[in-house]
Symmetry: D2
Subunit: 350 residues, 4 copies
Amino acid sequence: MTVSVAIAGATGYAGGELVRLLLGHPEHLAGNLQIGALTGASSAGTPVSEALPHAPELFGRTIEPTDAEHLAGHDVVFLALPHGHSAEIAAQLPEDTVVIDCAADHRLTDAGDWAHWYGGDYSGSWPYGIPEMPGHREELAGATRIALPGCFPTGATLALLPAVAAGLVAPEVTVTSVSGVSGAGKKPVVTNLGAETMGSLRAYNTAGRHRHTPEIAQNLGEYSEEPVSVSFTPVLAPLPRGILTVASAPLAEAAAGTDTAAARAVYEEFYADEPFVTLLAEGVQPQTQWVLGANTCHVQVEVDAASGRLLATAAIDNLTKGTAGAGVQCMNLALGLPETAGLPTTAVAP
Amino acid sequence: MTVSVAIAGATGYAGGELVRLLLGHPEHLAGNLQIGALTGASSAGTPVSEALPHAPELFGRTIEPTDAEHLAGHDVVFLALPHGHSAEIAAQLPEDTVVIDCAADHRLTDAGDWAHWYGGDYSGSWPYGIPEMPGHREELAGATRIALPGCFPTGATLALLPAVAAGLVAPEVTVTSVSGVSGAGKKPVVTNLGAETMGSLRAYNTAGRHRHTPEIAQNLGEYSEEPVSVSFTPVLAPLPRGILTVASAPLAEAAAGTDTAAARAVYEEFYADEPFVTLLAEGVQPQTQWVLGANTCHVQVEVDAASGRLLATAAIDNLTKGTAGAGVQCMNLALGLPETAGLPTTAVAP
Amino acid sequence: MTVSVAIAGATGYAGGELVRLLLGHPEHLAGNLQIGALTGASSAGTPVSEALPHAPELFGRTIEPTDAEHLAGHDVVFLALPHGHSAEIAAQLPEDTVVIDCAADHRLTDAGDWAHWYGGDYSGSWPYGIPEMPGHREELAGATRIALPGCFPTGATLALLPAVAAGLVAPEVTVTSVSGVSGAGKKPVVTNLGAETMGSLRAYNTAGRHRHTPEIAQNLGEYSEEPVSVSFTPVLAPLPRGILTVASAPLAEAAAGTDTAAARAVYEEFYADEPFVTLLAEGVQPQTQWVLGANTCHVQVEVDAASGRLLATAAIDNLTKGTAGAGVQCMNLALGLPETAGLPTTAVAP
Amino acid sequence: MTVSVAIAGATGYAGGELVRLLLGHPEHLAGNLQIGALTGASSAGTPVSEALPHAPELFGRTIEPTDAEHLAGHDVVFLALPHGHSAEIAAQLPEDTVVIDCAADHRLTDAGDWAHWYGGDYSGSWPYGIPEMPGHREELAGATRIALPGCFPTGATLALLPAVAAGLVAPEVTVTSVSGVSGAGKKPVVTNLGAETMGSLRAYNTAGRHRHTPEIAQNLGEYSEEPVSVSFTPVLAPLPRGILTVASAPLAEAAAGTDTAAARAVYEEFYADEPFVTLLAEGVQPQTQWVLGANTCHVQVEVDAASGRLLATAAIDNLTKGTAGAGVQCMNLALGLPETAGLPTTAVAP
């Protein structure tokens, strides 16, 4: 088998991470996976040596324009574009091309949610790229259209899902997710300058304004008898990569008296066979450094008896398990490759 | 009037910040406030040029040992010592010496809480150094024993107090406080090394294990009809100074329908006359950089109608308003000086 | 005396630091110095609460447009504008207005240098704002037009001047200056984004391309018998503020055998009366944290006998002693106020 | 072939990076390379899940004590120990065991240099692990004792070697190397705390005191007709990983008039076949982010005609190409594996 892979939006941070992972993929090293078109919008025409200076292996190339013509003829096309662009591109690609969308266009399953949170035409949902959500791995195997999750929903879902699915908590979750600055993308705006973000912390899109809110609710709600209410607060912190999710919810009445050991048992069983989710030893809190550049999610769960709440924390690299790593994981599933191929679980620490 | 001020534990981060603020205090500039003994434990005997290299004005001096002998004869003594040391030192100082304790020894008003959270002998509580808590400013005026608040309780209290006092929220608050590394102090442990903390995020003392939890509950409970349950999660982030508090609670049944405008009105009135608390304009989130080195707390409040929760955020500099600045503010009150003397409200940004 | 001060370009980083220092100036606290117009270009019309969120004391105001009309009627006008704008504005202000320019327009004394490095019309040089350069303090006293130095030249000059003036070194200096990101200003370009600058180091404008090169040569050359050749390399590092200058030069033939003690003696004498330059104790290297927010320059000098070079290092805060602090220092001299008024020497450390 | 590899000192930063690279090595993925004993001193007995939390693949294991007994029976033994420990351990291992020392014990070829810089018994030099130095690759192929270079010498050597070897520069080089904090190791000392290193810059071991100085001189001197004088200044900057080397030297008299194009031609030819050294396009300066986690060195060279100096800059990851990556590269050579096996050239950027 030879597979050719294109990346639309290769010069953004998600695109650059896809390039890194694909170059290290064993099928690429074996000559079976070729990196085809790398495209960009304003960066079209730029030498890769300038656009992707972290990837010297590709320095002879040039960024091509993002359009169906340049993306045609590939077996896999990653779309790392601003939301709203994917549907149009995807419609022009053959149905058997594996199209993996890093944007939000095909994540929400409810047209009303789409209208409320994004507006504009709703293009329907695609198989959703968190294989660790029960039932989803099967749906992703062999899929030709895949919607990758948002980075915050990945952390929040993996942190809370076992508790929600087991009915341990009431469906009112509070999530504070602290994120590195690459999550804000490469757009040059004053608020994302180094001088504005180093040495500072700030919340943003607070009080239900962040578009990842309905996605978290959708994921958790899929395994809950009642709709899940999500109070979500993202916080920007001075590091390049990493998301630490701090999530909590009241213990469900039916689960009153659940202690940390019981909660851990639920999580252990839930994630027993997952190659990319690690429940840390009791007493050890996740640290984003321990997952930097890896496709791993480190999770911890406890019960705070005094406040009657279950607390779940999770660390991911927003560009790896949060985006590009999930993309390669889904590509592997779509192509029938081993799910873990090319995906480091060991982090670049410190 | 001439006042002499000693600092016990001057070579830690709180001590160093006290030195900075006192050197810039107008009474010091006018020759009326003298900086007396600067003491340390293992650092005793060290030249100030080595121990406090940020304070060249004092470079001729030497750090003295921390004992009653060296602290005697001052009008004001700041204790920036590990908890457990203050009571013993204070007992050896005259009753009319103004003793201001940066540690936890005299914060909790309930002996049972002390026993549960700290253990060992309980030394009783002193007037508590958040003048913005109604009733406390009066108690601090002229006081000779003052317990400064913890840095996390300062942020959490100022964020939530107006809502709690007005009965806007149910007494079940969730607080995630993201902190810079100076809050961990100057003790050389591996987990606080630069290589362990830069480029990383982690929660610690989670699920009700952090000793600031009962202090937050005590502060809010003072203005609530019911005891306040606090779910508190501190997070360590890679910046030297700053705490961003993200706090939320369900709207109280009696306050159902409260919207952001109504919540803002409550906060505006509550803080109308406070020189060191600024309610930011609607839509502007606090940023720790905007309070760096200042004695200011920036606050924002919103209602998230979808989740039915009130969200309050606050930014402080943990060493200024969070410790040393509060100390100088309380000293001013104790001595009858203008409360704002020597306390910058303009930050060192960016 | 009542003085009113305007700041043109108040919303940039230098402008914001001027605001901070002026608000803390004793003449402002005493009611004798009023902060007048705060102007901006694209930010004109913006509330100060949004444009200068670190300065709550001024939150009621609005940024005005940068033009002669709005700057007129002040005793002192600071120009914190991109280079090329100052001459035109200054020409429209009365001759007895104290105009202090933070930009490069009036720094170079040689028209040919100006043409070579900047191009366009040369507007002549103004008294140059490093009072520590022998002869300059006198020139600045009572001046009505002042050119503030560049941030890199301030560090390099204070590091090397005593050695050059004493003839200790040959006139071939090598300067590597590592700078925080605020030095790059507030312009939103990709290369200055947080994600591009955190966790990374890079040199820029290398090999004689940085416009501060001729300014360093000019400053040192003023005290050297021969022209001084400068090999200057600026490096961008992930911190908001601070410049660490590493400068070296071969010992002059006539000074062969000079050792560290002898070099220190020269520096000690040179800076004996300077309030803002501190020669650190032997063996202690400057650290930018120790001068953060202070108007201080910490200096160290050594002789590396093996390589036959004198090594001088210096730490400044690029926005304080490197720009705005120097501006206030010069304003004090121009107005006949105590030179040190309103200028902290104690740093915001850590 | 099956190879077993032990790491002595596995819990330090170099050890942890060796673990990462070996786990991703294709021979490991193919089942031909087994990771054997992971040893530590004070960390012996600690679960790997606590000692190496970035490597979940090894979480079932425990750190063993560092002694000959536990290191015996492996084909390859990496020594990531403080200097002074290697000779003793190596003497107890069979001669055909490949021993790769990350410390300084066997780097210097001159007993007098050893005595001067390190003192104590000199254990002789081993084949030196910079394969890019002409002649060394051949010496490393099949070697059973290998001394890895220091991280600073790696950057400085790769930056300057082509110029020195081609006689472009006089043998008087000035090197300022700005380093991330992991280079200081995992020892808990106050000066390496996050609060001391974030937001700050400082030089250390200045003026010929850093022990990497003679190593740089030795490397360059090997290709120079005259001994090379090195003025070396290391600077600590607030990032976890990365070294940016800024090196310059006067053009040699015989090379007067050399311009940037000519210098680039020399470098291009010198590094034409090197898989891990990339000469960047003209005008592009190396950035440590572009080599993070990669075994790559990015180099740039220019001539500054005005000062008559050649300027060479280089970026490496101090833990990858600077230590552990070089170790795996040398292991590959020693075992006859492809030199590039298991060594990423694409970086974890941003």
